[in-house]
Symmetry: C2
Subunit: 459 residues, 2 copies
C-alpha cells in the first residue's frame, strides 16, 4: 500500500490527471486540478493538446476552470476561450474578476468577443467588461479594477467600518486599503484610509477624517506615467478618474508592477525574434512555425543586402581568399559591440536618464568608448591574423577594419534605440536587425575595400 | 520677468543645478534636489562626473542625500558611497531603511563596508545592517525588512490598535497590514490582520482573533520559491523565520516583485553582453570600456573556432567564390532561428512549464518545427541563389545547408538553456555565445563540405 502511494506521488501531475480522466470522474478531476499550485496547473495544461485543453476546461467545474485560466499565460487562456462555445466561455468569464475577463476578451477577434459578451447573463457586468475592454492594456483604464468600495459624504466612520467589514467578508482574497468617497455630482470627493477610521468614535462624520485632496490618475495615463506616479508615492492603490472627474476604477501598485514585468518579458521575447506574442510549445506546431517565420523571412532580405557587398568584391576575395575567414568574425564582433550599446541605451531610456533627443550625449559617450575598444579589439584580431596567415598587410587590413567598424557599431547601437523611440517604434523589436544589417554592410565594405586598395601588397 | 521665468523653466534640471551650485548656497541646492522627482534626480546625477556626484552627496542635507541614493540605480549609489569618507557614508546609511543600507553595503568590498559600519553610531542598527548584509540578495533574508510590529500573546485588541496607531504616526510612508505575535520563547505564535482587530471590543484578548497558523517563509528561501509562494496566496507581506522559528523579518510582495524585475533586467543586459552589472554612461569611460571588453575578448576566441572551419576549406571557397557571399547569411539566419528557440526555453523555464531535465520534449517539439522552417527557409534561400548565381547545384548546396542547419539550430537553441540551468549557469548569459559558435561552425561545415563533395559540378 505504502509502495503504491510512493509511485502515485512520483507521477507528474499530467500523468495523474490522465489517470483520473480515464476514470472519467469529472468531479475528481476538478478537485485534483483545484488542489494543484498555479505552476503545476500551467505544467499540466502545457502537456495537453489544444483539443484536450478545451475539452477539459469545458467539463471542469466553472470556478476551477476560471482559476486555471487565471494561472495560464494570457495568450494560452485566450486560445482556449476562443475555441469554447460562447455560452461556456461566458460562464467562465463571469467567474473571473471583470478586469481579467476584459483582458482575455480583448485578445480575441471583435466578433468572437461580442459572441461571448452576448451570452453573459448579467447585463450590467457585460457592460462593465465591454467598457474595460475598450482601453489599451497598458493604460490606467486597461489596468484598473472596477470593483471598489465607495461611501457617501454623509456617512460616519462607524457606518463605513461596518460596510467595510461586510465587503471584506465577501472579498476575502482582496486586501482593502481605501474607501472612496463620492460627492452628490458623482465625482470623487476624497479618500479614506482604513487606519484613519480605526481610532475615531463611530459617530464621527467622515468629513472630519477625509483626505480631501487625493492623488488620482487619469484613465488614459500610460504605463510609463503610472510607474513614475507610483514611484513618487507609497500608495498601494490610486483612484482612476475620467475627464469629468468621476471615479471609474482603482489601479493598484501590483497591477502596475505586473504590467511592467509583462512589458519587459515581451521586450525580451521580441528582441529574440518571438514577435507575435508569447509562444509556448503546447501551441499548435503550424502556428508556432508561421509566427517564427514571420520574423525570419524578412531577415533573409536584410542579410542579402549585407551580402551583396561581398558579391561586389568577389575578385578581391578570390585573390586573397584568407579574407573570407575573417569576414564572419568582423561581422559577429561588431554585432556584439553594437548590441552592448543598444542594451545600455534601452536601459537608460527606461530609467529615464536619457531622452530620445539627446544624440550628442550618445555620440560623445560611445565615441570615446568605441575608439578605445576598437583599437584594442582591432589590435588583438590583427595580431591573430599576422600569426595565423603571416601577412602584415593582411593584419593591418583586418585589424583596421575591425577597429573602424567597432567605432561605427557602438555609435549606431547607442543611437538606434533613441531614433526608434522617437519614431514610436519599439526599440527592443527593431534595434537588433537594423544594427546587424548596417554593421555587416559596413564591416564587409571596410574589409573588402581596404583590401582592394592594397591588393598588390596582399597577393 | 515673466520671460526670465520661462527661460529658467526650460533649463534641464542639471543646468539649473549647475547655476545653484555656482551660487554655492548648499541649502538651496538641497531644497532644489529634494523637490525633483526620482526620475529627474537620476537624470540630474547622470549628467555629473563621478567627482561631482560625490562632492554633492557629501555636501547635501543627509536626508536628501539618502533619498537621492534610493532613487539612483544601486550600482551607481554604491560607487558614490564607496568614494565618500566612511563617516559621511555612515550618516547617510543611518537615514536609509536598514535593508536598503544593507543592499548598498553588500556591493562594496568587505573592507570598505566594515569601515562604514564602524562609523554607525547606533551599535544595534549597525549589527542589524551587518546581519542583513550576510544574506544573498535574492533570498528571503536578502529581501526582507527588519522593521515590523510585534505584540505579545497577552495583549488585547485595544492595546494592539493603540500601538499600531502610534507606529503608523512614526512610519507615515509604510502601510501597516499585519501585527506579528510572539510567544514567550521568542517564536512566531501568529499573525493579526488589521481588519480582524477593527470590529472587536477593545478588551478582547488577541488570542481570540489570532491566526494561529500563519504562512511563513524561511530566511534561506530563494526568489523562485518566494515568487510561487506569493503567487499561491494574496498576502501583501509574509513573516520570515529562521531555523529556530524565530521571526527575523518580513518580506513584502513588493520586494519580491522588485527583485523579479531586477533579475529580468539583469538577464536582458547579460544576454546583450553587459555582463558585469548595470552600465550607465555616467560611469568612468575606462570602467565601461574594460567591462565591455571582458565580454568581447573571449568572443574573439569563439569566433576563431568557427572561422577555422572556413580556413580548412579555402580551396573549395577559392574554386567557387560565390559561396563566400552565402556564408554570413547562413550564419546569421541559423543564429536567428536558434535564438528564437532559446527565448522560448528561457520563458518556459521561468513559467515553470518545463523542467531542466525534459530534453525529449524539446527535441520532439523543436525537431518538427525545425524541419518545417528549415525546408521553407532553405527553399527561399536556394531559389535566391539560383536566380542570383544561375547554378542549380549551388542553389541545392546553399538551400540544403540552411535547411539542415536550421534544424540543428532550433534543437540546440531549445536544449542549451535547459543544460545550462542544470549546470547552474545563467542561461541568459551563456546561451547566446554557445549557440552562435556551434551554429556558425555547423553552418560553415555544412556549406563547405557539401560544396566540396559536388565541387566538379559547381565549377
Amino acid at each position: 500500500m505504502s509502495d503504491e502511494n510512493v509511485v502515485i506521488k512520483e507521477l507528474e501531475p499530467w500523468q495523474k490527471l490522465a489517470e483520473l480522466e480515464e476514470l472519467s470522474d469529472i468531479a475528481a478531476v476538478s478537485e485534483y486540478i483545484d488542489n494543484l499550485t498555479s505552476e503545476e496547473q500551467r505544467r499540466c495544461f502545457s502537456r495537453l493538446s489544444g483539443a484536450e485543453q478545451e475539452y477539459l476546461i469545458a467539463q471542469l467545474d466553472t470556478q476551477v476552470a476560471a482559476d486555471v485560466l487565471e494561472s495560464l499565460p494570457e495568450r494560452q487562456s485566450t486560445d482556449i476561450l476562443q475555441a469554447l462555445e460562447p455560452e461556456v466561455a461566458a460562464d467562465i468569464i463571469e467567474m473571473l474578476p471583470n478586469h481579467i475577463g476584459a483582458d482575455l476578451l480583448m485578445e480575441m477577434s471583435a466578433e468572437d468577443s461580442e459572441a461571448v459578451l452576448a451570452e453573459i447573463d448579467d447585463v450590467i457586468e457585460a457592460a462593465q467588461i465591454r467598457n474595460l475592454a475598450t482601453y489599451e492594456w497598458d493604460t490606467a483604464g486597461g489596468l484598473m479594477i472596477d470593483e471598489f468600495l465607495t461611501a457617501s459624504l454623509n456617512s460616519t466612520t462607524g457606518q463605513v467600518i461596518q460596510e467595510l467589514s461586510a465587503y471584506a467578508e465577501d472579498h476575502d482574497d482582496v486586501e482593502i486599503q481605501y474607501v472612496y468617497v463620492i460627492n452628490d455630482d458623482g465625482q470623487l470627493a476624497g479618500v479614506l484610509r482604513l487606519r484613519d477610521l480605526v481610532l475615531k468614535k463611530p459617530s464621527t462624520s467622515i468629513k472630519a477624517v477625509l483626505n480631501w485632496n487625493p492623488a488620482t490618475v487619469s484613465v488614459n495615463d500610460d504605463l510609463k506615467t503610472l510607474v513614475s506616479v507610483f514611484e513618487e508615492n507609497s500608495f498601494l492603490a490610486m483612484p482612476v478618474v475620467n475627464n469629468e472627474k468621476a471615479l471609474v476604477g482603482i489601479i493598484t501598485r501590483k497591477a502596475v508592477r505586473e504590467a511592467t514585468a509583462q512589458q519587459q518579458t515581451e521586450d525580451y521575447l521580441r528582441a529574440s525574434g518571438i514577435v507575435a506574442g508569447e509562444e509556448l510549445r503546447s501551441m499548435p506546431l503550424l502556428t508556432r512555425s508561421r509566427r517564427r517565420l514571420a520574423w525570419l523571412a524578412p531577415n533573409i532580405g536584410l542579410n542579402l543586402v549585407a551580402a551583396s557587398i561581398i558579391s561586389r568584391y568577389e575578385d578581391t576575395l578570390q585573390a586573397v581568399i584568407a579574407l573570407a575567414v575573417f569576414l564572419p568574425i568582423i561581422s559577429d564582433m561588431s554585432g556584439c559591440s553594437g548590441n552592448q550599446a543598444v542594451a545600455v541605451s534601452i536601459r537608460e531610456l527606461s530609467l529615464g536618464v536619457i531622452r530620445p533627443t539627446e544624440y550628442l550625449r550618445i555620440i560623445w559617450k560611445e565615441g570615446f568608448l568605441g575608439i578605445i575598444n576598437g583599437v584594442i579589439l582591432g589590435t588583438i584580431l590583427g595580431l591573430i591574423a599576422l600569426i595565423w596567415k603571416g601577412s602584415l598587410v593582411l593584419a593591418c587590413v583586418i585589424g583596421g577594419a575591425l577597429c573602424l567598424n567597432t567605432i561605427l557599431s557602438v555609435l549606431l547601437g547607442g543611437l538606434v534605440p533613441l531614433l526608434l523611440k522617437r519614431l514610436k517604434v519599439d526599440p527592443a523589436l527593431a534595434s537588433g536587425p537594423i544594427l546587424t544589417t548596417c554593421t555587416d554592410m559596413c564591416g564587409f565594405l571596410l574589409v573588402l575595400s581596404l583590401a582592394s586598395a592594397v591588393l598588390p601588397m596582399l597577393k
